[in-house]
């Protein structure tokens, strides 16, 4: 029984990690309605920046988070303005998907060119310290990720519900044409949303870098899970992404212990299919985001 509860804790922590990676994706998806295939690569670039900052400047990985969040917000604005926005009126929405796929390949090869194929590990600096809680153990870094994920989800919910800008974002995600008619500058909302989405990726990169080694292909490991989490939770739903991530984390952990490590994807994708069959909008999806 003790093993079971330790596995549950491991699963929750893994879920927290999946959640922090998925938040940015679900925000962009819910509002801009663009599947950002370069999501994982942005995460990988963020992890490289943290690696470089910690190894060459000797700063703590978490201290890289604030500048990284700001920088990635700006990158998000620029990507939306110069890559996605010109394609918004394209007759075929697939064109935007192709653009993000192209961006993803470009970033991956840029990393290969700049950093080489060798795998790099950001120094832990205390984030890999073992914390014992009543006979169970977690890593300090995992707890930080879990706590911050809850905080970020809460703050973003608050921002969307209470502020003028947040209401604009929600209006745009619910009905673009109506929002435009009500005087919302939709293009500006899109830019800001993309910026917020990438800022979340910047935060995720700073938190994950000390926990996982980074290589140019690292993004692809995380992005598939992030897509599953986003669809499972309901596209565009922050709460959904959080709960979906925890469910996937727990299922993967339990199934790889009790069934087989190679079958953990079978278990999580089976659940994914069942949810899609019985609740096509996802666990917390309103259906509004899916025009």
């Amino acid at each position: 029984m003790e093993v079971f509860w330790q596995l549950m804790i491991n699963g929750l922590m893994l879920g927290g990690l999946f959640a922090i990676v998925s938040i940015g994706l679900t925000i962009i998806f819910g509002t801009v309605h663009v599947v950002n295939f370069a999501h994982g690569e942005f995460l990988m670039i963020a992890m490289y920046i943290v690696y470089l900052a910690t190894t060459s400047l000797g700063v703590h990985p978490y201290l890289v988070a604030p500048p990284l969040i700001v920088a990635f917000y700006v990158v998000g604005l620029l990507v939306q303005r110069f890559v996605i926005q010109p394609l918004l009126e394209a007759r075929d929405p697939n064109v935007q998907i192709f653009a993000t796929v192209g961006l993803s390949i470009m970033l991956m090869n840029l990393a290969l060119l700049l950093f080489g194929a060798n795998i790099r590990a950001t120094p832990g600096e205390g984030t890999r310290a073992l914390i014992h809680m009543g006979g169970f153990r977690v890593l300090s870094g995992q707890l930080v990720i879990f706590g911050l994920t809850i905080l970020v989800v809460y703050l973003l919910q608050l921002f969307l519900a209470k502020t003028h800008l947040g209401r604009g974002i929600r209006a745009t995600s619910q009905n673009r044409a109506a929002a435009q008619l009500m005087g919302v500058d939709v293009l500006r909302i899109y830019r800001i949303t993309f910026g917020i989405g990438l800022a979340c990726v910047g935060l995720a990169g700073a938190l994950i870098a000390p926990m996982y080694p980074v290589a140019p292909t690292t993004g692809t490991y995380f992005v598939l899970i992030a897509f599953v989490v986003v669809v499972l939770g309901g596209m565009g739903s922050l709460k959904g992404a959080f709960v979906g991530a925890l469910i996937i984390g727990i299922i993967e952990t339990l199934s790889s212990y009790y069934i087989a490590p190679s079958l953990k994807e079978v278990a999580s994708f089976l659940l994914f299919l069942l949810v899609l069959i019985f609740r096509p909008t996802g666990l917390f999806g309103s259906g509004q985001a899916m025009e």
Binding site: L14, L17, I119, A121, P213, E252, A260
Partner: protein, 402 residues
């Protein structure tokens, strides 16, 4: 008219003799490696070993007093491997082909040479299939993938159990491996070897190399009370497994990696030298081995540096150099460059262990596999890879951390 014809015939005859004369002045050998495409780097590295061995032979007067002309073929994919093997054999008329680095291309190209009755010498590729097809003229000088898997298991019997002073059968052995061809084939050989030796396998777990969390696997090994873990892995899963084991507090008595991630310095740096301490890895060649057990290694390094300007980028060139050198020595002893004469001479080769630059000897078995090609066991000690087995090649003493 008949006069002109006879003059023409005579001229043709002279031309033919001249051609035959120039052909007998040097002997042509083919070198078939992927020199472009995604395998180019290590393919080219492997071909450098052949070039160095041929150059050395030519400087010493050549093969049976004939200079060797090495003709390169680019095996960029399986189809081109076949095409280039055909070209080398029928257009260039090579007496033997050396290759190939890639197992799949070796299997494809050697089918052509076997049909044409031309000897094919594999120097680098590991797939068991290459020598398991009952071909008459296909030989392999390097260890195969079953040697690779077997070596990890033998290290339990030869090194780990004696050091722990226990019966190897009393140790709980766990096998974990990434689930592509690399991991599956090596772990399959490990399981077979362990069963043969009567070892106790408690877990055999495949996992996807893309996994971001290995804590469940580690907890299963913990529950199974694994004493020895054999892992076949790439870089990231090696790092994850060793780091997470350390954090979870899973301390097996020994960890043995099969090449892959375990052999790379950046992986040891990422894991941390304290955590990496004592981890073992099996490899087919290593530059840092006892020079007394590898005569010619220093000469190889000097010749390599002189020709290419840098040190070797991997040990593939060393293995292909040693293989080529042994085969050329055999061809020197052959009655002629006829395929059957070469085959007889290659079977007559009998180089004991410790007499080549890579450490192992050369003696081909019925299948054409060099049965003396053996793996080295290396161990991470103080952040460096140290050769610990076989004893003759060892640069340091094998020890298990407590």
């Amino acid at each position: 008219m008949s006069k002109i014809r006879s003059i023409a015939a005579a001229a043709l005859g002279i031309a033919c003799m001249a051609a035959a004369g120039s052909a007998s002045a040097d002997v042509k050998l083919g070198a078939l490696f992927p020199l472009s495409g995604e395998l180019a780097l290590l393919g080219e590295e492997s071909s450098r070993g052949v070039e160095l061995a041929v150059q050395e032979k030519n400087e010493k007067g050549g093969l049976k007093n004939e200079q060797i002309r090495l003709l390169r073929g680019d095996a960029v994919d399986n189809n081109q491997a076949i095409g280039e093997a055909r070209r080398l054999i029928s257009v260039e008329g090579v007496k033997a082909i050396f290759g190939t680095y890639s197992s799949a291309r070796s299997v494809a190209a050697s089918q052509v040479s076997e049909l044409a009755g031309i000897p094919y010498f594999e120097l680098v590729a590991v797939s068991d299939d290459i020598t398991n097809r009952g071909f008459k003229y296909v030989f392999r000088s390097n260890p195969s993938s079953s040697d690779f898997g077997g070596a990890a298991v033998h290290s339990i019997v030869d090194l780990i159990a004696p050091t722990l002073n226990v019966d190897p059968k009393s140790l709980n052995v766990a096998i974990i491996h990434e689930d592509s061809v690399f991991g599956s084939s090596v772990s399959g050989a490990q399981v077979a070897a362990a069963k043969e030796l009567g070892l106790n396998i408690v877990e055999n777990l495949p996992y996807a190399a893309s996994t971001v969390d290995m804590s469940s696997i580690i907890m299963r090994l913990q529950q199974a009370k694994a004493d020895v873990v054999l892992q076949t892995s790439y870089e990231k899963d090696t790092i994850l497994f060793l780091k997470q084991s350390d954090e979870i507090g899973f301390k097996p008595k020994a960890v043995v990696g099969a090449g892959g991630g375990y052999i790379l310095q950046p992986v040891a740096d990422a894991v941390g030298h304290d955590t990496m301490e004592g981890a073992m890895v099996v490899a087919e060649a290593h530059f840092d081995i006892n020079p007394a057990a590898a005569p010619g290694l220093e000469d190889f390094m000097t010749a390599y540096k002189a020709k290419y300007g840098t040190g070797p980028r991997s040990s593939h060139s060393l293995t292909s150099y040693v293989g080529t050198k042994a085969i050329l020595d055999a061809m020197e002893q052959a009655a002629s460059f006829d395929a059957d004469a070469i085959r007889a001479a290659v079977y007559a080769l009998d180089i004991p262990n410790g007499q080549t630059a890579v450490g192992w000897g050369v003696k081909f078995n019925v299948k054409g596999q060099n049965e003396r090609a053996q793996m080295l066991v290396l161990q991470w000690q103080n952040g460096k890879l140290v050769t610990v087995y076989p004893e003759a090649a060892a640069m340091g003493k094998f020890a298990l951390p407590n």
